[in-house]
Structure formats: structure tokens, C-alpha cells
Amino acid sequence: MAAISREEVAHLARLSRLAVTEEELDRFAGQLDVILQSVARVGEVAAEDIPPTSHSVPLTNVYREDVPAPSLAQDAALSGAPDAYEGRFRVPRILDEED
């Protein structure tokens, strides 16, 4: 049985904001199925009482000194923007016309 269906891949692509083509969907569904069946092997390990590791450095809540310092200038921050307007990032409309 397939671990993941074409419909699920299409749904995940939408969640991931990827406007994948039909051809990509066909290809990815098969490939992701092979990958998922392989990685699902982690389920064979008895690990109920094992704490998870999120990263390997035993540090938590690292703070810097509370000293003001210069940050990236506005023009530098905007220098790579596809579209900028009056010192801001310009984006396509977010709300529909009727909103």
C-alpha cells in the first residue's frame, strides 16, 4: 500500500505554497512514497520513554548583553527586495476586492 497518495501530495504542496504542476505531482507522489516507506523505519525503534533531542548543544535561553548597537540600515535591508516603495517592502494585494 502506498504510504502517501497523489491527493495528499497535492494538499501538502498547497500548504507549502508550491504551485506544482500536474507532471510534478505525478513524479513527486511516487518518489515521496519510496522515501516515506524508507524513513518510516524509525518507527521500529522502541523509544516511548526516550526524551527527544532537538539539537546537540546543551544551551538554553542564550541572551546577549542589553546594549544598543547599529543594525542593518533601511536601504541595505531593502536592497534585495523585488519591489519596494517609500522604505517598505511592497507586496501584492492580500485582501480580495470585496473585502
Binding site: E8, F28, I35, V45, H55, S56, S79, G80, P92, I94
Partner: protein, 487 residues
Amino acid sequence: MSDLTRLSAADLASRIASREVSAVEVATAHLDRIDAVDERVHAFLHVDREGALAAAAAVDRGEITGPLAGVPIAVKDVVTTKGLPTTAASKILEGWTPPYDATIVERLKAAGMPILGKTNMDEFAMGSSTEYSAYGPTNNPWDLGRIPGGSGGGSAAALAAYEAPLAIGTDTGGSIRQPGAVTGTVGAKPTYGGTSRYGLIAFSSSLDTPGPCGRTVEDTALLHAVIAGHDPRDSTSIPQPVPDVVAAARRGATGDLTGVKLGLVKEFAGDGSEPGVLAAFRESLEALVKLGAEVVEVSCPHFQYALPAYYLIAPSECSSNLARFDGVRYGLRSGDDGSRSLEEVMSLTRDEGFGPEVKRRIILGTYALSSGYYDAYYGQAQKVRTLITRDFQAAFEQVDVLVSPTTPFVAFPFGSRTSDPYQMYLADLFTIPTNLYGGPAISVPCGLSEGLPVGFQIMAPTLADDRMYRVAAALESAVGTFTPPAL
């Protein structure tokens, strides 16, 4: 005068310091070599002749001194360089010029190291062959029809082709070590947190580790010392002194390993390595025993789950990290014709800007993190990560370092593993456990199989980076270095 591009970084540095040659001459020799061969190798995505020569001239004026002052370097294109294009080999960042330097780049500049240019890689460092670069693959200088490893194939190939004496890589699952192995060069992944991630374009933040690449162990250690050390701008940077890796490499080069215990991981045996890879590995092991080392078999029962755990953890983190590429703040924006919504523009931008492997991993990670699957996939993988860490800790109570081949196979021909993505993932079988644990590991050339280089991996405990350099230098003193055929 000997060909400057053939000299080690250590040799170049001392000749520059004694004014036998100028830093400008050294940079020029490498830039000319790039001009002569890179059309065939394609190690570089961008070459900065003007910037490299200006940095070299500053060294010649005596403005900067230091152990590697004037030695030029190539930098993987996933590391930000102020004023120099940085794409991570992705179309989504085509033409982007970062407004700031990564911490490690600041340190290269402060050390007087001219940056020759940016090297090719698999897109966003996802891959083992550079075939997933949006700008075409890099060709292995040993055989131009074969892969140079990945993701950092450009950095490794630049070294093997004598286009640069040193290079920067990043290692998330083996992206420094596996390219080193298949190009006959040295690549070291420092302890996670030992080198700053600030200015690295993030792939998997709990695993990404920048590190040094060179043609000799000593050169690699010298570069390690330049880039390593605490950085307050990276909250996972370790606030402790860097072990003296250069002294360790020089000690190892004397060829004495008396009393050093090498651990052979039982579970790695017979794990699909090519016979020629295994033969070169075993011969090198015997060479280390002749230097006084002792071989001890150890068991790491959870290593067999490292690859599956990695391919849940890394895609999960990448699906989150790569959300920043939304066509708003930098890079590509596609389909913004005034009629489409922000969401439609984002989706079109990401579909056009990302290549197939990046999309696969984003989708896989989104799946592993979704409600209903989280516990079975991402959560379970994090628990397995704990067990793998415990395997390492138990092993290091018995031995000083663990050893293995770096990768199961030598450089493979282009196209032989792209149709089945999982076959590509197997290239990282032996390198991935270390990333999950966070310790340091190094790949050293140890022999040839059918005329192609084989790498020997040495894994050490967290913060014992010096230990792996000592063993690596001893191995190098026993087996020598390997030179590819003339291009």
C-alpha cells in the same frame, strides 16, 4: 619559480610572510588557473578577481598579518558575502547580493585571506552530487564525467583542480566530507556550535555546520583555527575555547599513534560499500595499527536508523527555514501582474524558483510536521536522535575515535542516481550519524579504487576536534596525498 597553485596553504603563507612571493602573485596565479580550467570543471558560480586582488594587495602593504595572510580561498555559495552574489545555487536567489557578511567570512577577511569567488553546490545544500544545482553540475577533476560529491562539490573540486588552496564548506549530513572523499581532498566538519552559523543560508539549523576544506590535514587545521570560535550572533555557538587543532595536526604528522584506540562500528560492516572502498579502508586501518593504534570493535545499534531519522529531521527543518523565500524581501518574484493575490504570487514564485529536490524535501518536511503524523515521524526521529547520541557516548567510553569509510562508493557517473532520490541519500550513510550527534568528523584521502579517490572518516567526541586532526595527520603521513590526472 614553482607553480604557486600546487603549493600547500601552509607553504604559501610562509612564502608570503617572508616576501618570497607577494599575495597578489599568489592570488593572480589562482585566478589565472580558474580562467584556464573552470570552463571544464565548473567549480565556481562567481569569481571576484577585483576583490581578491584588492585583499591581496592589503596583505602585501603589511596591513594584515597572520598564519594564513594572503592565502586565497573559495567560499561555498550558501555563505553570505557582502557585495558578492550569493545564490545557494538556487534560481530563487539569482542576482541577490547580500548586504552583510557571514561571521566566518568576516573572520577570513580579518585573517587577510582573499576570496577568489563562490563555489557551486546542490541547491540549498540538498544533495550529494551537485546535480541539483540550478546552474549545472560541477565536474570531478579526477574524471570530468563523474560527480564531485555534494552538496559542496564546487569547493572540493576547486581544491582538486588547483583553483584554490583552501575552501569553505558546510556540512548538514556530509556535505563537506563526502565531496572531500570523492575528490581526494580533506574536509572537516567541526563540532556543531564550534563554527558560527550566522550568515549561512539555513537548511537544517540543528545540523548545519560550516567547516574547512583543504588538500592537506595541516592546511585544513589552519583554516579551522581561523573560522572557529564563539559568536554571540549565533545562539547555538559554544562559548568555549577552540581546541588547538593545528598543534594536534602537527603532532599527528610525526606518525606516532601509540595508545590511540580506533573504534570500528560493527553495524557499519557490510553496509553496501563497494569492494574497492572497503579494501582501501582496511589497508589504511592496517597502516594506522603500524603507527601504534589499536583497533576495537564497538556496537552502535541505532546507527542503522540514522539515515531515516535524518531524512525526517532535515526536511522538517528545511520546510520551515525555506518559508522565508516568499518573493517579498529578496530574490525572485513571479506572476505579480496586478491580478494575482499575495498567496498566488508566493506559490508561483516558489514553484518557479525551487528545483525538484528542494520541493520534495519541503513537501516531505511539511508532511512529517503535520498534525497526526508529527509523533510518528518528526517526534520519533528526535527520540532516535537521542539514542544515536547515546551510542556515540557509550562508544567514546571505550575508544578515542570512531573510523569508517567516508562514503560507500567512489565518484559515480552523472545521472546514475538522480532518478531514484533515495539512492542519492545512501551516499551519506556513514556521515549522517555524526551530524545527529553533533560531534566533529573529518574525511582524509586514503587510497584509490579503480583510479578514483577513497575517503577515510574519523569521528571524535564533541569538542575533541583536535583528536580527529591528530589521527587524520598520522594517516596522511602513512598513505600520502593523491594527485588527479592533469586537466
